[in-house]
Symmetry: C2
Subunit: 263 residues, 2 copies
Amino acid sequence: MVKKKTASPGKKIVLIGAGNVATHLGMALKKSGQDILQVYSRSKKSASDLANSLNAAYTCDLKQLDKHADIYVIAIKDDALAEIAKQIRFKSIVVHTSGSVEMTALKGCTSHYGVFYPLQSFSKARKIKLKNVPICIEASDKQTEKELIHLAEKISNRVIKIDSEKRQAIHLAAVFACNFSNHMYAIAEDILKTNHLPFQILQPLIKETAAKVEKNSPLKMQTGPAIRGDRNVMIKHISNLSEKKTSQAIYKLLSESIRENKN
Amino acid sequence: MVKKKTASPGKKIVLIGAGNVATHLGMALKKSGQDILQVYSRSKKSASDLANSLNAAYTCDLKQLDKHADIYVIAIKDDALAEIAKQIRFKSIVVHTSGSVEMTALKGCTSHYGVFYPLQSFSKARKIKLKNVPICIEASDKQTEKELIHLAEKISNRVIKIDSEKRQAIHLAAVFACNFSNHMYAIAEDILKTNHLPFQILQPLIKETAAKVEKNSPLKMQTGPAIRGDRNVMIKHISNLSEKKTSQAIYKLLSESIRENKN
């Protein structure tokens, strides 16, 4: 019997979760030629919506998970992960996509487990090019690691091996660089709104601030009254924030921190 | 006598200051057809360097300022502004470029004064397209306002009239959106460095976080453990920051502030 020569077939994947990460990963994996068998979500609407766009089956019952997948990808909230992990048991690979949960949380699910953590902030409404997004891989064993890296390289050019401890440091750094910098934008928006000014006026500044650190250390790019030690301006700013006590406290603490870090 | 028909001639400008703002503004004004007569700086090297690239004269002596300019642009540190303003007196227009100093600081210099505030963070090493940068104009009288708007429109598509009070609010908002978000990047860099990880890994995340708010309110774009109320992750993060007390205090305060703002 002569085997036909074929392109390497896609992996059979089950997505557990139908949120932002599951959606973006699912789309990218499908596009790269993988076969999404099934989507699980507690919510029937979420499961069927995502399943439809991936041409997959769906279920809201963990007991009905398809048993024939090569890889199960758990992309759900961190605090729900342990509970889900308890209820599934497979022979094939099980991974989670979390920045902060240890890989060993999946030890009970299978003997081949790992982490597949895309370092990006996903919103359903925004298209993201996963090609440039770092994907952090960790695995229970060499063979699993090889398979996860192979899969990750189908959707990203920046696949890196990262252990649980380092991944947690990355996740913490990401909270500052993404969640907290976004909160700085939100406070700026609030100040402008109080003064009947559009947030949009800050766009070129926000863009340039982010672009500056593409090739430079942010420590060296620091500008503003705090790093210059311009006390008169800072006193005026703090007084202007007298109606916004939390933002005022943030102003003081961050200005002190910038002064401490001055190199 | 028949006058030759010529294109509207450039304004004659003297730059007082040779730092980042003076450099970027000077370059853009020259490129737009204005005539930079002279550059003043206390430092001979700074004055002559910028003057050379603008094909202008230079001086380090305020008494030697060229008396024939149409507009004097004071682009120096906020806390040096009052001192300089005391020493100059002209009949033509005098403006400063500061976000936080009141326009009336120039009252003694001339009877035609104003503010020409480009809302951007300038570094000498980086080229900036001023075309997209908002320029905030304020003036002592209608004629001066008209002339300043006309000049600003030569270098930017986003010229807006903004009074001193609103300009100070914009400047305060800019400290959050630019200086403080950069400091968030710096703390992220510090966390990564401690864990022997490159800051560069966060690039796609930083870029996307800034890009998200181009068309969306940052309040609505907030993600991360604080807005989700993911206490387990936050407790772990706070404990991971035990060696970095100031960053730990920032983590707590910003997480509380994000929770407060939840809409």
